[in-house]
């Protein structure tokens, strides 16, 4: 069964179409990467899945199915319930994703309270477990977001996302602003998570090395439309479209040996 299935999605705003006729699917335990230039509509698409589109953008056509159910037919409240619990986000602006003047523990607790009925002790345990899983010390519970480094904030976002064991992870540029060490570690954690929980991952990234290493499938998007799509191996080693070739050529270190 597929976790996520997007068909014919069209996003429109006053300026025109942001995304046209978009298609993508993520299977159980699979990672699907979405690559393209800035402004190609990647982030908007990911926001559309969780009903997080800004008010100026609407879904004018298409469907998004999660675990077989059409999301667009659900009410706002129902979609809100899915967010954080079954569909988790790691946003591009992870540094600002948590409110700076509220301690981290409290915010993660808030998320738990929104989705579960655990009592306080269990909630705290859950949070500490999540912190541990992302290799963060316990004392982070009482820290404020402004006291953390970029890498630590990223892990906190990850911890917040995985607390409730979501079925789908949407990650928008999870490692772009991180140094190499942190980036590798984050991806390793995510990859382990995938192994353990069989969740699906939608990975939006500029970094083609990560895509090559972790993604099972790749979709290339340009100006809101799909250029090509398929298994990572095939796309990265033998791209069919000119645009894809140019995109890959821009990353000189990437070399796929045809297997």
């Amino acid at each position: 069964m597929t976790i996520l299935e997007i068909k014919g999605l069209t996003l429109a705003s006053k300026q025109g179409y942001i995304v046209r006729d978009f298609e993508l699917s993520v299977g159980v335990g699979m990672c699907h990467a979405l690559i393209g230039e800035s402004g190609s509509g990647k982030s908007m698409t990911s926001l559309a899945i969780g009903d997080l589109l800004p008010s100026s953008v609407r879904i004018s056509a298409g469907d998004i199915r999660f675990l077989g159910r059409s999301l667009l037919s659900l009410s706002t409240v129902q979609r809100e319930r899915l967010r954080g619990k079954d569909i988790a986000y790691i946003l591009q602006e992870y540094a600002g994703a948590l409110t700076p003047f509220i301690p981290i523990g409290k915010q993660l607790d808030e998320t738990l309270r929104a989705h579960s009925v655990l009592d306080r002790k269990l909630r705290k345990e859950c949070i500490l477990q999540a912190l541990e899983y992302t290799r963060l010390p316990d004392r982070m519970y009482d820290r404020y977001p402004f006291q953390l480094s970029g890498g630590q904030m990223q892990r906190v976002s990850l911890a917040a996302a995985l607390m409730l064991k979501p079925k789908l992870f949407i990650m928008d540029e999870p490692t772009t602003a991180l140094d190499r060490t942190n980036a590798i570690e984050i991806l390793r954690i995510i990859s382990n998570l995938k192994e353990q929980t069989n969740c699906g991952i939608l990975l939006i990234s500029h970094d083609l090395r990560n895509v090559k290493r972790y993604a099972d499938d790749v979709t290339v998007i340009k100006e809101g439309q799909i250029v090509e799509s398929g298994p990572t191996q095939r796309i990265l080693s033998a791209p069919a479209q000119t645009y894809t070739k140019r995109l890959l050529a821009a990353v000189p270190s990437l070399r796929i040996r045809p297997s």
Binding site: G50, L52, E80, R81, L82, R83, G84, K85, A88, Y89, L91, E93, Y94, A95, G96, A97, L98, T99, P100, F101, I102, Q107, E110, T111, A114, H115, Y144, F146, Q147, L148, S149, S157, A160, A161
Partner: protein, 313 residues
Amino acid sequence: MMTKLGRRLFEFILFIFLLSLISFCGIKLAPGDAVRQLLRVDDVAVTNEQLEIQRELMGLDKPVMIQYVDWLSRFIRLDFGNSYMTHQPVTQEILTRMPATFLLTCTSIFVLMGVALPLGMYSALHPQQWIDRVSRVLAIMGASVPSFWLGLLLIEGFSVRWPLFPSMGTGTFWHLVLPSLTLGLTMAAVYVRLIRSSLLQSLTQDFVLGARSRGVSRARIFFFHVCRHSLTPIITMFGISVGSLLGGSVVVETIFAYPGLGKFVIEAIHNRDYPVIQGYIVFMGAIIMLIHMLTDVMVGYINPEIRLREGRP
């Protein structure tokens, strides 16, 4: 925190000292002869002899420096002399009238917030819709209305034509209604827009999307995250505007014959009652400094970033 508090206290004392100097100089430089003022207020014909005696009594025949030292020594004991008008100690006169003004200020703040907060919040959450547009018009008009005119119109409307509320004096809760409305509404006009724009800015912050992506409810995000984020600029503004409130209350008290500090000071000014004016300057200065300090403390409390300096930007 200790040294910060210590510094604050030091600035405070320095400020009060400066005030004493300024008010002393101000009185000295002001046109008019203090002795004449005092005696003439009594409407008594005086001879030169009596003037000289009074001058000696008041210590005005001594050199200026000595006068200042005298003044300062009494100043420290909060002794500003007696009012030319009432012949009672200035400090006492001021202190007896302060509660009334304080009460009026509080009720005006209540009106101010009661109007500006809901309107501001609603406008921020539903921008460009009719409430937002209407509040924009009302805000600009409210900021343009002279407060005393509004007061007069209110009196005419709700006190004379339609005797609902008293227009003069004090004593009951009803006496506070019209003056508070006058003060509160004119200030609310300015505040609605400030609250709205502050909230709008907070609503566009990254953490709002972050919280939404975690499934936190919109209501909770608004009240616990957004509002708190807006609180800093709003409290700062508020600290500054308490000053305007105090200034505005002077005029309002005069219109409504409300026996507060403002009305008293205006009378003092008209009667050239310098001791009262001096005392007023110092008391006001002290109160305003106090409010500024309070505001800073509150902002520090809300904003852990300021408290815990070891934060990373």
